[in-house]
């Protein structure tokens, strides 16, 4: 199809790019703008890995035609850190809470958390765990069981979190029974 010119405001900067109208926003962000933090996990809006913010709202960029983003503000994970590269409070919370494992779903989730916190700026104290889960329900993660993702959001809210499971030393057969592994 005939290429079209898109004007986007991406991560705080005006960007112009030619695009094929058949392209998804995901494809333009990755393929034309080099924003590789946007991930594709399913291509049909079922996993949330490709989530970016368009005019502040989380959307699956795989199910968004790039032409629909013309003239809009797009925020990807690359635009999440503070100028100079300092991690945002959401990013720091994900790091500290242990919410990151393989990391493939992480960019999309971080963007949802970030939008969720911004939208609820006026009522952060009222946010419940249930509400956190609801707001992040558009993301699949296979590594974490979601536990530490919820904790990351709570941590970003400045709340105390459960953290790691307790480690209790227990008595064992004394080490005297054994020498070290034969080498």
């Amino acid at each position: 199809m005939t290429m079209v010119d898109l004007k986007l405001h991406v991560n705080g900067k005006d960007v112009e790019t030619a695009a094929d109208p058949r392209e998804s926003l995901l494809e333009v962000l990755r393929g034309r703008l080099g924003l590789m933090g946007v991930k594709e996990g399913c291509g049909v809006g079922e996993c949330g890995a490709c989530n970016v913010l368009v005019d502040g709202l989380p959307v699956d960029s795989c199910l968004t035609l790039a032409v629909w983003a013309d003239g809009k503000c797009v925020r990807t994970i690359e635009g999440e850190a503070r100028p100079g590269g300092e991690l945002s409070p959401t990013q720091r919370a994900y790091v500290e809470a242990g919410a990151v494992q393989c990391g493939f779903c992480t960019p999309g989730l971080v963007m949802t958390t970030s939008a969720f916190l911004e939208r609820n700026q006026h009522r952060l104290n009222e946010i419940t765990r249930e509400e956190i889960k609801r707001a992040h329900a558009g993301h699949l993660c296979r590594c974490t069981g979601y536990e530490m993702i919820v904790e990351a959001v709570e941590q970003a809210l400045g709340r105390e979190v459960k953290g790691a499971g307790e480690c209790r030393p227990a008595p064992s057969l004394a080490e005297k029974h054994l020498t070290n592994e034969r080498r």
């Binding site: 996990g41 991690l87 990151v100 960019p107 296979r142 064992s172």
Partner: protein, 760 residues
């Protein structure tokens, strides 16, 4: 200062939360071509004719290959180390493309084009005609006398049948028993659902070598298998593993690497990529083996187990992949749980015209544990005994001897884990409280426990390598062959090295991308083996590394070597205070001193010959909505005995992830086929892996029983967390409803059948 038992953040967390971490598809090469595989729309049959002309004529298509164009040689795909004994090698039953299609989604041709859409459209233009054969989908049809052969080398479609018996004569014990309980159980075919689909690309940058960049757990094995598939010397293949978006065993298989290597080889070295769609991941990568089991448990009237008699049928699907190793591994890891009872284990692995099963987190143990644990629950019911008490009475204690190999179990923490878990979930009070409910909403408590191994020895060689390099600025580069696949191995390895050297964790850089040309040899990420097997290599490399540092420090300072040591990143004198050199000072000397020293590098490889068991248990509380046939887990605890925990935060993350996957297996997930073998739910909408609202808050704890056989006291952890949630849920549903469900997943549709039968 020790860095073990503390929870520093993951080394790669910042890269991942900022989008900097580059996965295979994030490393595009100029000129990259895309290939799409032409897949069979039927589960079993022969290609009668294939017409590639329309695809070749399609603008943008650059090449099409069919089964007629690929090497004849059969190759294996399982991510196991090579075996010197031919009879113990993996079954080689696959060609790059085939004219005998064995499952829905099997691979008959491949189309290469300038972009993915063109390749996909080209693939749709390849016209293959099939002569259909009966689709043998289940045990009954695949093992029926006279059934069509799925592979010529497997008469009766049996890949392998083995029987083992340990700890006494099971027939005798069954005869002598006060009580024998029995049951039949079934577990489903499920899929790994790593968020990054399977993706690989390959190119050539000289005349001889094929470079494969791949989302793989096993770069060294992939290298060897590509060599085998293409008939090339193994050293002509180079496999690079970038950041990896989850594997869970699916990428412990050689999936796309031989094909992309073949394509670049045929096309003069141009880079060619295959990125599977999510749908293709379901139909055409690997799955978990569906198991059927028939089992008996013999016991005394006091509740002492005397013998387990297990017979299992493991469905490996269209190709062997890990084949019988799955069933066999479970047979070898299970005797550690109730070592004072005998165990007979009769396992059949059979081919069927369904997507191939391979390795998946737990590697057979979830299936066999489900069977054993269901039986134990039957026994508790039959004896009217508290199920927790029955388990406590029979589980392994430190000092027991495994009937499997007659070796002493030096550290067995399952008794302690069960005890701790029962306190955490308030077992006794709640079990009593939830007795005999009748309303529409009912609650119940369940427990289940299992044993696991720390690696694969002696089934396969256990080899790990580690290299330490002192950089000019005093920072230490750690390269291991063990692959970081999201589980946090790099961070744990750095903690082990930091502990061994007494150099701060911040001084380490871990090479996260394995490259078979550059990183030390290791067979990969599987069997929960990484920390256990790499730890000895790291300890050995650290000893050598520290020795070289102290040698040079002694030479340059005149202080006797034995009067110095490393402390907190400095070379200090015997008082432990006086800094002779900082590491940075010594590092500069090692490189640039005109006369003395050399860059300090130490490398060690270690073959592990020990495989101590680990243990875990799950406690759950469920709520069952009877009219809606729905089970909700309200509370879930996993308690693990994995020896010393290197990083409790990372370990907890592993446990939560396993619990989530285990609860998915228990309640949500199954791959569904129609009567012709087509996959009905090959997408993340119809395949119900749990989303965030489907899982309860997940809790865990560790009882740390130090394993004296390891330099750090550690054992394995990665896979066991998913093993026990399913039987715990099943037992809890029984407690809540009085209805015994002998299959998973206990979806509303499953529970409906059982409730209706019970008139509820």
């Amino acid at each position: 200062m020790t860095t073990i038992g503390i929870s520093p953040n993951r080394l790669d967390a910042a890269a991942k939360v900022s989008g900097k971490a580059r996965y295979t598809e994030d490393l595009p090469m100029a000129g990259l071509r895309h290939a799409v595989i032409v897949r069979s729309p039927i589960a079993h049959g022969l290609v009668k004719s294939i017409d590639i002309r329309p695809a070749l004529d399609f603008p943008g298509v650059e090449a099409v290959f069919t089964y007629e164009d690929v090497p004849e040689a059969l190759y294996p795909t399982a991510g196991h180390p090579y075996n010197l004994l031919a009879e113990r090698r993996d079954v080689a039953d696959r060609r790059l493309l085939t004219s005998h299609v064995r499952h829905f989604g099997d691979e008959v041709a491949v189309v290469v084009a300038r972009d993915v859409l063109t390749a996909a459209k080209g693939a749709r233009l390849v016209k293959a005609e099939y002569e259909e054969m009966p689709a043998l989908l289940d045990r009954e049809s695949a093992l029926a006398p006279g059934a069509a052969l799925i592979h010529e080398h497997a008469p009766g479609n049996v890949l392998r049948h083995t029987v083992s018996e340990h700890g006494g004569s099971v027939d005798e014990l069954l005869k002598k028993a006060d009580l024998v309980v029995e049951g039949r159980y079934k577990t489903p075919m499920v899929q790994h659902c790593h968020m990054e689909t399977a993706v690989s690309y390959a190119y050539m940058d000289d005349e001889d070598h094929i470079v494969v960049v791949s989302s793989t757990q096993i770069p060294q094995i992939a290298r060897r298998v590509v060599g085998q598939a293409l008939g090339l010397p193994w050293s002509r293949i180079r496999v690079i593993k970038p950041y990896l978006g989850g594997g869970f065993g699916n990428k412990q298989d050689v999936l796309l690497e031989p094909m992309v290597a073949f394509l670049t080889w045929k096309l003069g070295g141009v880079p060619v990529q295959i990125a599977l769609t999510r749908e293709e991941c379901f139909t055409s990568t690997r799955t978990r083996h569906q198991f059927d089991g028939e089992a008996k448990l013999a016991l005394t009237r006091d509740g002492v187990f005397t013998a387990f008699d297990l017979k299992v049928w493991s469905r490996t699907g269209a190709y062997a992949s890990h084949g019988h190793s799955i069933a066999a591994a479970a047979g070898s890891k299970s005797p550690y749980l109730y070592p004072r009872a005998a165990l007979r284990y009769d396992a059949v692995t059979y081919y069927a015209n369904v997507p191939s099963a391979g390795a998946m987190r737990g590697y057979g143990q979830p299936q066999v544990t489900f069977i054993m644990d269901c039986l134990v629950e039957e026994a508790a019911q039959a004896l009217a005994m508290d199920p927790l008490e029955l388990r406590l009475k029979n589980v392994a204690r430190s000092g027991d001897v495994s009937p499997y190999n007659n070796q002493t179990i030096y550290a067995a923490g399952i008794y302690e884990a069960l005890t701790r878990g029962s306190e955490l979930i308030d077992w006794r009070r709640k079990r009593e409280f939830y007795k005999n409910q009748t309303g529409p909403i009912r609650r119940g408590l369940g427990v289940a426990c299992c044993s696991y191994g720390s690696n694969t020895y002696p089934a396969a060689v256990e080899l790990a390598g580690a290299r330490l390099i002192l950089n000019q600025d005093g920072r230490v580069t750690l390269a291991v062959g063990a692959t970081e696949i999201g589980q946090g191995a790099d961070t744990a390895m750095a903690q082990l090295a930091s502990h061994a050297l007494d150099v701060p964790l911040e001084s380490f850089h871990v090479v996260t991308n394995q490259d078979t040309d550059h990183t030390p040899f290791d067979t990969g990420a599987y069997a929960s083996r990484q920390c256990y097997t790499s730890s000895s290599a790291i300890a050995a490399a650290a000893r050598e590394f520290a020795g070289k540092i102290l040698d040079l420090a002694a030479l340059l300072s005149g202080v006797p070597r034995d009067a110095m040591r490393l402390k907190d990143g400095n070379i200090v004198g015997s008082d432990g205070e006086h800094v002779v050199f900082t590491l940075a000072e010594l590092a500069l000397q090692s490189y640039y001193h005109l006369d003395h020293g050399a860059p300090i590098v130490a490398e060690a490889a270690h073959k592990t010959r020990l495989n101590p068991p680990v243990y875990c248990c799950t406690f759950v509380e469920v709520e069952v909505d009877m009219p809606l046939c729905r089970v909700a887990v309200k509370e879930a605890w996993n308690i693990h005995d994995s020896g010393r925990i290197i990083n409790p935060k990372l370990a907890s993350g592993q446990v939560h992830g396993g619990m989530g996957m285990g609860l998915g297996w228990a309640l949500y997930e199954e791959m569904l086929l129609d009567e012709k073998g087509r996959v009905l739910n090959d997408n993340l909408l119809d395949y119900k892996m749990p989303a965030i609202m489907d899982l309860p808050d997940l809790d865990c704890a560790f009882v740390e029983i130090i394993d004296p056989t390891n330099p750090y006291g550690i054992r394995a952890l990665g896979e066991p967390p998913l093993v026990t949630p399913a039987p715990a849920v099943r037992n809890a549903v029984w407690h809540a409803t009085g209805v015994k469900v002998d299959e998973i997943p206990i979806t509303p549709k499953t529970l409906f059948r059982y409730l209706e039968k019970a008139g509820l």
